[in-house]
Symmetry: C2
Subunit: 200 residues, 2 copies
């Protein structure tokens, strides 16, 4: 945006453009939209940013993001504390909760091991997971990282650390997605589906 644009709008657009998936053109459009908000709406938006940033932090147990000392899942007495589902990010918890079929607790790693992006095991919440498994009566750790190179590597790394502690470590099943079409399945998925076939 050149000098015929209002400077505060340019600054706002540059802030929007820092968000993931938002280019300069969209950022400019969003900045103009902010101008069409009422003062109260704009103030509420700004406050929401600062408020979220100031009050939300990691749960002292599972490292999920929460504004409480301990997140609602960890503090829920009905959840099975002997089962920990290890995920990459808080978003993944939302996906699991949607299934309404998982009653254990979670652990958020906040990333995956990826030497190419300079993400080493030390920068993830693996230490915290180890402490949980050592301290509590944890029976099973479910590695629920994405089925990608980084997700697989992280699942392998974590499971090798956990196994000596005598805990059962499992991995999400790979196979055909429900509602998918065989014809369009890639060869690795189809191979996994064949390999992990079940008797009916």
């Amino acid at each position: 945006m050149a000098d015929y644009n209002a400077l505060p709008l340019v600054v706002l657009a540059e802030n929007f453009a820092k968000l993931p998936g938002i280019g300069m053109k969209t950022a400019q459009r969003l900045a103009y939209h902010v101008m069409s908000m009422s003062s109260e709406e704009a103030k509420a938006f700004a406050d929401a940013i600062v408020n979220a940033h100031e009050t939300v932090h990691e749960c002292s147990i599972c490292c999920n993001l929460t504004e409480l000392e301990c997140c609602p899942v960890c503090s829920d007495s009905r959840r099975d504390k002997s089962q920990i589902c290890v995920v990459e990010s808080p978003k993944d918890i939302t996906a699991f909760e949607r299934t309404k079929e998982y009653h254990g607790v979670y652990h958020v790693l906040h990333g995956l091991i990826s030497p190419i992006d300079n993400v080493m095991p030390d920068s993830l919440r693996i230490k915290q997971l180890l402490a949980r498994v050592k301290d509590d009566s944890v029976k099973e750790v479910i590695m629920a990282t994405n089925p990608t190179v980084e997700g697989e590597a992280t699942a392998m790394y974590v499971s090798r650390i956990l196994k000596p502690l005598g805990v059962k470590v499992t991995r999400l099943a790979f196979g055909l997605p429900v509602g998918g079409v065989l014809e369009y399945a890639d060869e690795i998925t189809l191979f996994k589906a064949l390999e992990n076939r079940n008797e009916i």
Copy 2:
């Protein structure tokens, strides 16, 4: 987002979701991204919103958005004040300035006449345009609204009001877009290109 998500994050995501073209899923992703910012970045983002909203207003002459009393184009003595290019929104000025070929001034209507959306001529900056044309030595008004039903209707409406004042009112040319392919041109564009053909 259900109750296992941190409330301040839900509020922030809802604010993002109010922006045009941003659904709840993207909004959630953006909210998580804000959490990964430094405190300074989050504060700067929030400040940019409030600052833009408080300091940017319409130019007293052309109604473009600016933080100054009078926008840089209107206060530039090198611009030809006898030529006014009428556009729908401030974004359109950016597009014209990119051509580097327009040396006149602008007038921003802040919308197009659209009875279906309850946008009537009174809610646009037509009165201000009339005042400019009456007061100043304006020779030409270029109607540069979009080639849509609303854009055309607005161009027609404004030109009928301006013509009795003795000013020349022109409309942007319609034709084939440069670099376009004849085969894919719609019939109305092709008809316009044929109708407005020039001798070479």
